[in-house]
């Protein structure tokens, strides 16, 4: 029986559920306390996104004294709202009004983030969200790369940022597959074993795979080099004995579960589905029209229909 908690980005982490409740209750002290206890960049970016996805949170955040945290959260909320307006559809299905609404909100987020990174160039969280605003505002490949490079000076293996830049590097956002794969391979090579970074190699292959059609798509995951890279990425990240975990693990395991299931490597897919249990992140399952059905089908296939 599918859990109601599935695809809820906070569900696997009780403290994030609590954080979200604090936002809904406008309990600033609890929010500040939560972030004060968080030092990992990836986990902070993730938690900021949880706050940002609370519909209506801007009304509370706008009234706060403008501390860096309050401004970070407000800018992130504008960005989430911008994407709520845009919807996740491909550009040709997004109306002009939707784009204008999205840009209007991103133009509110960006000056807040410009100021945060001006005050503190080591604010990796603000830089990570500047990757989202750059993409939505279509500021271009080289500007997105510059923002990532600024972030990488202080947080060289930030998975959340790498995953965001990867989106920008894909052809759907005016990039190229060469650039996308080259970037993710660099991320993996440079990353310490057991970090999240190598998982972006999996994301790049997944994006590439989803972009293909027909026979070409069928052949993509059958390529030996592609399979080798995906296996190496899983081994160096989520399957590594020193895997650091963090809030992104459902996303990383999900990407590998999906990839191995689609390539027919059920044994490997099963390992990731077992790690996931009933936890599923929005990405990558939102590629299916019905994410829950897609998740169930592949999981049952991989675990031999045992569940």
């Amino acid at each position: 029986m599918p859990s109601a908690r599935r695809f809820d980005q906070a569900a696997a982490f009780p403290e994030l559920v609590e954080l979200r409740e604090s936002v809904r209750a406008a309990d600033w002290t609890a929010i500040e306390l939560f972030f004060a206890g968080l030092s990992d960049t990836d986990m902070t970016v993730y938690a900021v996104k949880v706050v940002a996805d609370v519909v209506g949170a801007e009304e509370f955040l706008e009234l706060l004294p403008p501390s860096p945290l309050a401004r970070r959260l407000l800018a992130a909320r504008h960005i989430s709202k911008a994407w709520e307006i845009r919807s996740g559809k491909r550009a040709q299905f997004v109306s002009r009004d939707q784009f204008e609404g999205m840009h209007e909100l991103l133009r509110r987020a960006e000056p807040i983030l410009i100021e945060l990174t001006a005050e503190d160039p080591a604010d990796a969280v603000a830089w990570a969200f500047r990757l989202n605003s750059a993409r939505g505002l279509e500021l271009g490949q080289s500007e997105a790369r510059r923002r990532y490079d600024r972030l990488a000076r202080v947080a060289p293996h930030c998975f959340a940022a790498q995953s965001r830049l990867l989106q920008q590097l894909c052809p759907k956002w005016s990039g190229s597959w060469e650039a996308a794969h080259a970037f993710t391979k660099q991320c993996m090579d440079a990353a310490p074993p057991g970090s999240l970074s190598p998982a972006v190699v999996g994301e790049a292959h997944l994006e590439h795979y989803l972009d293909l059609e027909g026979a070409e798509r069928g052949r993509y995951l059958a390529k030996v080099t592609v399979q080798q890279e995906i296996r190496a990425a899983a081994d160096k990240s989520v399957l590594h004995p020193d895997f650091i975990g963090g809030y992104h693990w459902p996303q990383a395991h999900g990407v590998f579960a999906l990839l191995f299931a689609e390539m027919g490597d059920h044994r490997r897919a099963a390992a990731h589905f077992e790690a996931l249990g009933d936890v599923a992140s929005d990405y990558p399952w939102n590629m299916f029209g019905d994410p829950a059905a897609g998740f169930d089908r592949l999981r049952d296939l991989s675990l031999g229909g045992a569940k």
């Binding site: 271009g140 080289s142 510059r146």
Partner: protein, 507 residues
């Protein structure tokens, strides 16, 4: 150290100096004083004034600027006296027979000078904005214009002489008497700042108007260093990075900046530049760099050439009516500049900034308003659809002309028109005081000679500049419906205007 006195009825600044005698004569007239339809007049007078002196053996030259014209020289007493005397004698009695020849020389000289779009977008096509245009008035300048300009602008009351050394023996300069001319009125083509416009490619440029002060001058230097470090050393996206500080009048200065970029790196250069400016605005300034550049600025005053530069600047200030400041005071101001001072100047600079971004880029996301692309009104009159582009039409009426495109209209009213270039084949180009221009190519809009003749009657004669006939292959031909011809290439490209014709919007 610098003393104010009077020589031959001319206000004079003099300071003792070692080395050869150096002197300059500065007039309060420059290209910002010219109507656009006489653009080039001051430069032409400057050239004519130098002609009789002939081949100059010693170090001497002249420069026409935005608000001043400067004749300067260095050498033995006799050479200096001879040069300055010759300049003044010539200004009283210019070699008018040279006008045609000098115009040709000026056309060649200006071909190598870029026009300044930042001036045009900030001020329009009048005053300081006119200085941003090429010398488009040359064809219309008459002998009387030249005589009149020399007699009214190159006068004792409108001049200051500066001398580094002693007053040379036998110096007897005669200039006509006239009146001191105030600076041209400040105009604005920008409803709000910070603002941006898109033009060209391969570089990001900006201008900002700030207070005139030691701290503002130092800010420009520290900013250049910070831009160089971020855009070139760290990001590796720019090669040339530069800023400049220049007094605009007695009270304010203009800071300009440029960063070049490969086409594929333009986005990142724009983003990097905005981030550097943002860092200054929040006061994140490297205190070490402030010290380094403060030292550089202070020691530059100890160089021998600094005295001449200072005498020139002070001479200009006398013409601007600004109280002069002693070097000691300026040094003291420089020594007192803090990081907080630079932050305050950065706030001023950002508030008044005009940014030129490459085509395809925007800057609204960083809080810059888009500079107006369109006129507020459309002229009433006869409509002439474009034969090239179904979306565009030309309107020619009794009060003005408009180029109408789907997103807006560009309008020049006849009574406001500051320049109408006229070609014998019937082509016209009208420019309004806000810098809006409308081009009329009769073959591309099916405009009859009668309509052009009617237009000519409405536009004031003073604004008209007749151009030489264009070569046949330069005249756009009526498009053949089956195979439309490419958009015409003008002899001299002025981007804002030709985009109006081709794209229907100001770049």
């Amino acid at each position: 150290m610098i003393k104010e006195t009077e020589v031959c009825g001319i206000r004079t600044l003099i300071a003792p100096a070692s080395g050869p005698l150096t002197a300059g004569l500065v007039f309060r007239v420059g290209c910002a004083d010219e109507p656009l339809s006489r653009r080039g007049l001051t430069h032409l007078v400057e050239h004519l004034a130098l002609h009789r002196h002939g081949m100059i053996e010693h170090d001497a030259n002249a420069a026409t600027g935005v608000t001043t014209t400067h004749f300067f020289t260095s050498g033995g007493e006799r050479a200096v006296v001879s040069y300055l005397t010759s300049v003044c004698d010539s200004l009283r009695d210019l070699p008018i027979e040279r006008v045609a020849t000098e115009k040709t020389i000026l056309r060649t000289e200006q071909a190598s000078r870029p026009a300044d779009s930042l001036l045009v977008w900030r001020y329009g096509a009048v005053g300081f904005g006119a200085a941003g245009y090429p010398e488009w008035g040359l064809e219309a300048i008459t002998d009387d214009d030249v005589r009149d300009w020399a007699a009214t602008r190159f006068t004792r009351e409108n001049a200051v002489l500066w001398i580094a050394g002693d007053v040379p023996e036998g110096l007897a300069l005669t200039l006509p008497s006239g009146t001191a001319h105030p600076l041209p009125a400040l105009t604005s083509a920008l409803p709000t700042t910070p603002a941006y416009f898109t033009e060209g490619s391969g570089k990001v440029m900006f201008s900002a108007v700030v207070e005139r002060s030691a701290r503002a001058a130092l800010f420009a230097m520290v900013l250049e260093r910070a831009l160089f470090r971020a855009l070139r050393t760290e990001d590796g996206n720019s090669y040339a990075v530069a800023t400049a500080y220049a007094p605009r009048d007695g009270r304010t200065a203009t800071i300009t900046g440029l960063a070049d970029a490969l086409p594929e790196k333009q986005d990142a250069v724009l983003g990097g530049l905005i981030d550097v400016l943002a860092a200054f605005r929040v006061g994140r300034v490297d205190a070490d760099e402030l010290e380094t550049l403060r030292d550089k600025a202070s020691t530059s005053f100890d160089r021998p050439e600094a005295l001449k530069a200072m005498l020139f600047t002070e001479a200009v200030d006398v013409l601007y009516g600004r109280p002069r400041m002693s070097l000691a005071d300026f040094r003291a101001q420089l020594a007192a500049v803090t990081v907080e001072d630079l932050r305050e100047v950065a706030v001023q600079a950002m508030d008044a900034m005009l940014l030129q971004v490459p085509r395809g880029n925007r800057a609204d996301w960083a809080g810059f308003a888009e500079a107006p692309m369109w006129s507020e009104s459309t002229a009433d009159g006869q409509e002439f659809p474009s034969l090239q582009n179904a979306d565009h039409k030309l309107v020619i009426g009794p009060d003005g002309v408009s180029m109408v495109a789907p997103h807006g209209a560009l309008t020049v009213l006849h009574r406001e028109c500051v320049l109408m270039q006229c070609w014998p084949d019937g082509a016209r180009r009208l420019i309004g005081p806000d810098g809006v221009s409308v081009s009329i190519e009769p073959n591309l809009h099916d405009v009859s000679p009668e309509v052009i003749a009617e237009l000519d009657r409405h536009v004031p004669d003073a604004a008209k500049v007749w151009q030489p006939a264009r070569a046949a292959d330069r005249i756009p031909q009526r498009p053949v419906p089956a195979a439309p011809v490419a958009a015409p290439k003008p002899a001299r490209t002025w981007p804002r205007l030709w985009a109006a014709l081709i794209l229907g919007k100001r770049p």
